[in-house]
């Protein structure tokens, strides 16, 4: 072989190929030149228009009780909000931070406990046989059904709320990690054994990376259901947080605040999911760099 010269040349050629190394700028440019983002914006505008027309312009029956987009926007951007919550009031952020912290603790617990448990369940048949039935029976129980037990079991006000968010996320992270291991082709295990791997090396170098795509699917679902259950839990027994804010505003008939809190929930939830996706993409370059 003509060896090193050829190698170096080819390697630099590969580095010049933007597709192979998928730089951020390249991806951003490709996204902005495709119709997708603009269609998305058009969809959002259409939705707000529908909301405006039904609630504020035509004031259709049943819709006329709802706050319209202009009312909500005015309240949200007011320095002196009628109901005390806007982008200029510290307590708005306090609610976001409280809910975020609860979700992050619950999510971290669900990841740290659920992922290893799921990996182990997928890897060791006997362990799976012990644990899977109990998880399958507990999983369909709606999180709200756990509220009384959570309050009885957990001390204080924070622990039950975090527990409920954790519980929902835990099933998602565990089961997806397990499915991830089960989806790994048997020939990878055989190849690893042929190449002289110990059991631990197989776990580290085949089970974990092989299950990673499904683990991240589980983390995304887990984050979603953690928010979902958190808000439910905060409505029942919170003193702060976005769920509490929604319920409290309902009780006090401060309807625009409900919508402000709802939209905030949507945006914050989206940001957390997107963060997980980004981390996943960084850890799994091999899934995005496939031959076109």
């Amino acid at each position: 072989m003509s060896g090193a010269v050829l190698t170096a040349k080819q390697r630099s050629a590969a580095a010049d190929d933007p597709r192979a190394y998928g730089g951020f700028a390249y991806r951003l440019k490709r996204t902005l030149t495709s119709p997708a983002p603009y269609l998305g914006i058009a969809g959002i505008v259409g939705f707000i228009l529908f909301w405006y027309l039904t609630t504020e312009y035509f004031k259709l029956p049943r819709f006329n009780k709802l706050p319209g987009p202009i009312e909500v926007w005015t309240e949200f951007t007011s320095h002196d909000p009628i109901y005390g919550t806007s982008m200029y009031t510290p307590q708005y952020y306090w609610h976001i931070i409280t809910s975020s912290l609860r979700v992050l603790v619950a999510f971290a617990l669900a990841t740290v406990l659920g992922v290893p448990l799921g990996l182990f369940m997928g890897w060791k048949r006997t362990f799976r046989d012990y644990t899977f039935p109990i998880i399958e029976v507990l999983r369909p129980i709606p999180v709200l059904a756990w509220v009384p037990l959570a309050i009885l079991m957990m001390p204080g006000r924070e622990a039950p709320i975090i527990f409920l968010a954790f519980l929902a996320a835990f099933f998602a992270t565990t089961l997806n990690a397990m499915l991830g291991v089960e989806s790994i082709d048997e020939s990878y295990f055989r190849a690893a054994r042929c190449l002289g791997s110990s059991s631990w090396k197989i776990f580290k170098r085949v089970v974990v990376p092989g299950a990673l795509p499904d683990i991240f699917t589980g983390l995304q679902i887990g984050m979603g259901v953690a928010w979902f259950s958190l808000v439910a839990a905060e409505m029942v027994s919170g003193e702060h947080g976005l769920g509490f804010l929604i319920w409290d505003s309902y009780v006090l008939s401060q309807y625009p605040v409900i919508v402000i809190a709802m939209i905030t929930l949507g945006i914050v939830g989206y940001v957390y999911s997107a963060l997980i996706r980004v981390v996943g993409r960084m850890l799994m370059v091999w899934t995005t760099r496939v031959q076109s």
């Binding site: 072989m1 192979a20 020939s187 042929c194 190449l195």
Partner: protein, 278 residues
């Protein structure tokens, strides 16, 4: 080749029988099969689909047990009814559908063996792997992921991944099965060139007769299930071989011989309506 070459690799398969027992229905997959493969010999097993060829290879690799008989490697028992030696880097399998780890680059796949066995550190393994890749003409794809390269390339990398461990025996289970004829030709020559540099004992399973004659020192024709050795044909083309052997008169003669033997078995398998068993 950069790796040290260890000797050995004599395989002896004596009176091996394998009975599968799925759902209580006993299936005789391999029946009293005996086969000797000399050190450094390239032995090709051909036979109809589902005849039990893979069963034999899996027993040799250490993936499952046998019902009776004995398989030895350099006189040491590696598979008996009581005992199946764990799979190890002295008997490396190249799989039908390929088993490069998609989460590792080509280079990381190659260094996998030396690293997990603790034979080399990361740096040393990477150095050796780059050397090996350059020698085999694969240097340009070292930092690619398997998903980015063609199936022909993948097979070459997989062969390289096996060779860096300096195995005694290379077990190939229809490795070029799903390839188009042109790619197949290229990869076959790649395998021959690699083995010209380091002789290895090879057990190669295929149902492509042309492939069998082009690659093998010995072609073993198996009967339809249960697998027995029906006929052994010595292929005496000198090495190193090129694709030109395929147009020699001797090649046609041998091809006719193998074809006659296999055809009879294929008809039997067809009449029995055997389900294709990979």
């Amino acid at each position: 080749m950069s790796t040290l070459q260890q000797g050995g690799g004599r395989i002896s398969i004596r009176n091996v029988t394998k009975i599968y027992d799925p759902d209580g229905a006993k299936v005789l997959a391999v029946d009293d099969c005996s086969l000797e493969i000399a050190e450094g010999e390239f032995c090709v097993i051909v036979g109809p689909s589902g005849c039990g060829k893979t069963t034999l290879l899996n027993a040799l690799a250490g993936f499952h047990s046998i019902t009776s008989g004995e398989i030895t490697l350099d006189g040491r028992a590696i598979c008996t009814p009581q005992f199946t030696a764990e799979p190890s880097a002295e008997r490396i399998v190249v799989f039908q559908n390929g088993a490069l780890f998609p989460w590792y680059t080509v280079l990381e796949n190659i260094t996998y063996g030396p690293e997990v066995q603790g034979r080399m550190g990361r740096r040393e393994a990477a150095e050796q792997a780059r050397e090996l890749l350059a020698e085999l003409g694969l240097a340009s794809i070292a930092d690619r992921y398997p998903g980015e390269i063609s199936s022909g390339m993948k097979r070459r990398v997989e062969i390289a991944r096996a060779l860096i461990n300096d195995p005694k025996v290379l077990l190939l289970d229809e490795p070029f099965r799903a390839m188009d004829a042109l790619t197949k030709g290229v990869v076959q020559e790649f395998l021959l060139r690699a083995l010209d540099k380091v002789r290895k004992t090879v057990l190669f399973i295929t149902h492509d007769l042309e492939e069998a004659l082009f690659l093998g020192d010995k072609v073993v024709v198996m009967s339809t299930r249960p697998a027995r050795v029906k006929q052994t044909i010595d292929v005496d083309f000198p090495r190193p071989r090129t694709f030109r052997v395929r147009s020699s008169a001797r090649y046609l003669e041998l091809k006719q011989q193998v074809f006659d033997a296999v055809h009879e078995e294929a008809l039997k398998a067809f009449d029995a309506g055997e389900r294709e068993m990979a």
